[in-house]
Amino acid sequence: MSQLLVTQILAVSIGDYWVQTVIKSLVVLVLVPTATAIIVQAFLFKMMAHMQSRLGPMEAGPHGALQLMADGGKFIQKELLAPARADKFVFSLAPLIVLLGTFLLYIVIPAGPNAVAEDLDIGIFFALGVSSISVIGVLMAGWASANKYALISGLRAAGQLIAYELPLILAVVGVVIQAETLSLTGIVRAQAQGEIFGLGLFGNPFILTQFVGFGIFLVATQAELTQPPFDMPVAESELVGGYQVEYSGLQFLFFYIGEFGTAFAFSALAATMFLGGWWFPGLDVDGGLLSNLIGPIVLFAKIMLVAFLIFWARFTYPRFREDQLQMFAWKYLIPISLANILVTGVLKVVF
């Protein structure tokens, strides 16, 4: 009898586990292309066009809203080409690895008290860790393409991404010290329940205390995404697209999803850590249906705000040179973020 009960419980819990996992995987799988589409349509197509005094795509759908369908269809139809001297296996694996890092990022981002795929205790640590996976994909693409431009680009990407990983992590350390947790839900809760100068109405979004960290995080994010002004690995006017130069069709699309999906994910991380995440005054931070329904909308609005800042810089600045970029990371960003950690630590002890 009792044995049967145990088996039943086991079966149900295993079933639950697999059902949950499948649902979560599906949500993430749908979320990444959707997020990419929103980012590309809103910023790359429309905002960039209006900033440059032009209209952008206008023909497909109302105000060009269906342009992405047309573009996606075009990419899927195209033949997958590989250079004759390319390492075919590595060549076709590289875009998938870039994409893998992007998908893993979405797992830990909380959009509500329970609306999170996996609430890891080391959420932010995990996110920063998996974001580096894309470096391997980029290096593989650069090497396997058997193209000199791609090779230079891969080397640049490796140097750049390693250099900017450090300020990215150091900028987060300040937040972690203040929130006393590595969990992203914990960071949101700390911001919701915190108060600044005795005022707790809006909580304490860490941008108020960690504004230095926020700035560094955005700059380092820009470099992680290889966007202008840090787009040396892509550099279409000198390396003609760098590691992406030999890719076509769906594989090229994967690189694009990887880039803009990661842009969305990093904006979400910044919104979660510095702008209070999904929490909004009036929402219950510990649970409840309302929080789980409105939370994603609030988070989405904050993500769009951060993404606007990122893409604004992308469309405005010229790009650095490789050595200038390294100098910028090691001479300015890392010392400033270390000083930020020091000040945060001291203040944490004092108050």
Partner: protein, 390 residues
């Protein structure tokens, strides 16, 4: 040498050998990077073969001729009025300015002088094509360095100038407006007021560019001290135009050469910059666009009345002789050496284009720079491919 013992010598040789072994082990293979003929930085089909050591350029060699269209030969089988249509295509961004020196050379041979109104109108359109050309440079430099927005602003504001050229001549890119002895038509009604408005817009565009691009710290970092050309080297390689003036050589054919055009009647400043780097070249060109708007405004104020065309025979036969006329085109000195044997067409025409000489300094200036600097230097030297290959 006698003081050096054999033992010392041997240890020295052994040391040398050890060091060279280390060097052999650490020696890296250079890489030949072929930039072009199809590459976004080459504005067409220029090919630059670079030897790289890491990201540093050991040597760079421009290889030209991928778009050679044989103009000099083609001109030998054209009549003088037909030449105009063809040479519009040499520097396609400022076609009107291409026509002027040839027409002046032909007029010099025929001993015809265009009436003052024609000369002044020519000068106005010359300066307008300078603005059309250089404004595109001001935006293009940004896009070469990775900022995508400036070039769209440049295209937007160049449209004002192209509209003016179209209103006067009927053609936006290839006006074919010059005739031996004057111009095809007089200016249309309302053109002068429209030009004044466009000049204000061009100045506004320059201000916009100087805040968006020139005031940008990244832009300065990428351009300052990159591709420095000292004045003596610049003169040695036959550079002309803004590339030469950016090296501090005060030389401008508009002011220095006698010309029937109306530059002698206006007051303008020739801008120079002492640095000779990419930033200086950008700065000089921006100042030139600004100055050019003032030149046009002065010319509009003093535009004389009168006929637009001198009396020339219906069938143009140019007397035998030779003449060379060069003008200060947007890219630099452009000159035509015309030899006539008394026929309806030229016997031989030699075209001196600015970009050919300007790009010849590439092997000198690109030694030791980094790969991204190749793009900066190419963009700041500013060539039009049709102007190199002819």
């Amino acid at each position: 040498m006698a003081a050096v013992s054999e033992r010392n010598q041997l240890s020295y040789i052994a040391g040398q050998a050890a060091e060279s072994r280390v060097n052999v082990e650490l020696e890296t293979d250079g890489m030949t990077l072929n930039i072009g003929p199809q590459h976004p930085a080459t504005h067409g089909t220029l090919r630059i073969v670079t030897r790289l050591d890491g990201e540093q350029v050991v040597s760079a060699e421009p290889i030209m001729g991928y778009m050679h269209r044989g103009y000099e030969k083609l001109l030998e089988v054209r009549t003088f009025p037909q030449v105009n249509t063809l040479i519009d295509r040499i520097d396609w961004l400022s076609s009107f300015a291409n026509e002027v020196p040839f027409i002046l050379a032909a007029e010099e041979l025929m001993e015809v002088e265009a009436p003052p109104r024609a000369q002044w109108t020519r000068t106005i359109l010359f300066e307008l094509s300078r603005q059309a050309n250089l404004s595109l440079f001001l935006g293009d430099m940004g896009v070469q360095l990775g900022a995508i927005t400036p070039v769209f602003f440049a295209f937007r504001d160049r449209e004002h100038i192209l509209n003016l050229i179209e209103a006067a001549s009927g053609g936006r890119f290839h006006p074919n407006y010059n005739r031996i002895g004057g111009l095809k038509d007089d200016l249309p009604a309302g053109w002068i007021d429209e030009t004044r408005r466009a000049m204000a817009k061009m100045r506004q565009f320059c201000d916009e560019m100087s805040t968006l691009l020139m005031g940008n710290e990244i832009f300065e970092q990428r351009c300052r001290g990159v591709g420095v050309i000292p004045p003596d080297v610049a003169l040695g390689y036959g550079l002309s135009g803004a590339n030469l003036r950016a090296s501090g050589v005060d030389w401008d054919l508009r002011r220095d050469a006698p010309s029937p055009l109306a530059w002698k009647d206006v007051d303008f400043k020739v801008w120079t910059h002492p640095d000779g780097d990419s930033f200086a070249r950008y700065w000089v060109r921006m100042q030139e666009v600004r100055e050019s708007t003032y030149i046009v405004e002065q010319l509009l104020d003093g535009l004389p009345a009168g006929p637009i065309m001198a009396k020339v025979p219906r069938i143009i036969k140019v007397p035998a002789g030779e003449s060379y006329v060069s003008t200060e085109n947007p890219l630099g000195e452009m000159g035509y050496y015309v030899v006539s044997k008394g026929d309806t067409g030229p016997f031989r025409v030699r075209v001196r284009t600015a970009s050919f000489n300007n790009i010849s300094i590439v092997p000198w200036v690109m030694k030791g720079v980094f790969v991204p600097d190749i793009i900066t230097i190419l963009a700041s030297l500013y060539f039009i491919l049709g102007d190199i290959d002819k």
